[in-house]
């Protein structure tokens, strides 16, 4: 029983009950997601559908799976961009790709690719370094809506000045505009860049290992999780890396909570780029 529960205690209880219901009904387990962001998304959704209590979502989600899936989609409202954190792409180009070049065949995994800008940035890098045709890129997310956007590769034209700026800071020498076709108020990424990419649904919480990757990009996905879940996801990622494979996580993320830290050496700790030790 709750001792004279505060407003906050009650809300937490309601959220737990809601997540229980969701897990039992749909198999999605959000219990170990970072609660503060989760409650924001839930509150936002409640405002949209005009429900006053968190627990009021339970009957809705139990009986209306379309409503639930709209909620899942809203969880991943994210803003991503091409060449986010240009310094990271610069180091990938200068220090990681030269190593990858020495392999006959290269496997790269973008875990949590969102709407795909990061994937196409990588493809551009690989193309410019002359190894795209030797690469197989896997781009995964647990959100089908995001995956569809990623596959289409169509982005608002208003973002291109930011992309171009990032690209230059990342050491890009060509015209970024050559990699897409401009339409009215959008751009469409050239199909050439998607040739080596496989888009697939993968949930880092419930799905398994993805074999023998030379490079895993998992940036700004761990921030969704609490420490325990971060550790689990990172273990899965580590198990997916081949010996001497590279890992890149988000600039503001940490490996501190994970035992995989012991299996990795720094390429650049500041930029969160690591390399797996040999076995």
């Amino acid at each position: 029983m709750m001792e004279n529960g505060s407003v906050a205690d009650l809300e937490r209880l309601e959220l737990d009950l809601l997540l229980d219901a969701v897990k039992t009904r749909y198999g999605y387990d959000f219990h170990d997601y970072a609660k503060a962001s989760m409650i924001r998304r839930v509150r936002k959704y409640m405002d949209k559908v005009g429900i006053d209590y968190v627990s009021g979502l339970i009957p809705l989600f139990l009986h209306d799976d379309r409503a639930f899936h709209r909620f899942v989609k809203s969880l991943a409202v994210v803003v991503t961009e091409m060449f986010r954190d240009p310094d990271v792409f610069k180091v990938l180009r200068e220090e990681v790709i030269p190593v990858l070049k020495t392999y006959p065949f290269i496997k790269i995994w973008h875990a949590g690719c969102a709407s795909g800008q990061e994937v196409y940035s990588m493809a551009i890098l690989l193309e410019e370094e002359g190894i795209l045709d030797r690469c197989q890129i896997y781009a995964t997310d647990f959100n089908d809506g995001a995956l569809k956007l990623a596959k289409n590769g169509i982005y608002p034209a208003q973002d291109i000045s930011r992309y171009e700026n990032n690209y230059r800071l990342a050491g890009g020498k060509a015209q970024l505009g050559d990699y897409w076709v401009s339409r009215y108020d959008s751009i469409k990424i050239n199909r050439r860049l998607a040739e080596r990419v496989t888009f697939a649904n993968h949930n880092l919480v419930t799905d398994g290992v993805f074999g023998e990757m030379n490079l895993v990009m998992c940036r700004n996905v761990l921030i969704y999780f609490n420490e325990q879940l971060q550790d689990r996801a990172l273990t899965l990622i580590n198990d997916s890396l081949c010996p001497r494979g590279f890992l890149c996580i988000g600039r503001r993320e940490n490996l501190k909570f994970s035992q995989i830290r012991n299996h990795l050496e720094d390429v650049s700790n500041r930029l969160r780029i690591y390399r797996k030790l040999g076995s």
Partner: protein, 194 residues
């Protein structure tokens, strides 16, 4: 203003600042004592690549450690955490910071509302929230939530602020407990952090 009654000894302070905020924060930090006993979480609107500059300026003026927050940092008493550029900073239940990349709130990322609303849920009555100078409305919704969860709310006097718009917007919610000048805020922090 002599001393202020706070219901319960606070466990944390959250500060929000925008335009003019570096000076205001610099002043407050320079007045803090070494044995200040609470964590201070700060969301100051900052340009895409400017958080290192902000850190450098503010760290110089504080005897307490100042850090740009990273995901899942453990919040420590007597330390100051700044929201990083381009991420929202939130407080999790276990006294841990988390970051997210949700869309901007009140046109801002990091947003003061996001910090305040998450901290309100964790610290309830044991939170002090302060809105400082700025030229937008961020923080007002946050102040409302802090009040709703029983915390103590403070706005800098608009006339005393470099730009009064932001504290004024908070004031207009009717949820501000105390209106203070920067000097009074400093004295207040000294009192609650002793």
């Amino acid at each position: 203003m002599s001393s202020v009654a706070v219901e319960k000894k606070p466990r944390a302070v959250v500060l929000g600042a925008s335009a003019g905020g570096i000076n205001a924060l610099g002043f407050l930090f320079s007045e803090l004592r070494e044995d200040f006993s609470l964590p201070i979480l700060v969301t100051k609107h900052v340009g895409l690549n400017d958080d290192r500059g902000m850190l450098r300026v503010l760290a110089r003026q504080s005897v307490l450690p100042v850090r740009v927050a990273k995901d899942k940092y453990r919040i420590q008493a007597g330390a100051i955490y700044l929201a990083p550029a381009d991420y929202h900073m939130l407080v999790e239940g276990q006294g841990v910071i988390s970051l997210n990349l949700e869309e901007p709130v009140a046109h801002s990322r990091p947003s003061i509302d996001v910090l305040f609303q998450s901290a309100a849920r964790v610290y309830g009555q044991e939170l002090v929230a302060v809105v400082l100078t700025g030229a937008n409305r961020d923080g007002a919704d946050g102040i409302r939530t802090v009040k709703h969860f029983g915390g103590t709310t403070v706005a800098q006097c608009p006339e005393n602020a470099e730009i009064g718009l932001m504290p004024r917007a908070s004031l207009d919610t009717g949820c501000v407990d105390y209106l203070m000048t920067l000097e009074e805020i400093s004295a207040f922090l000294d009192q609650i952090g002793a």
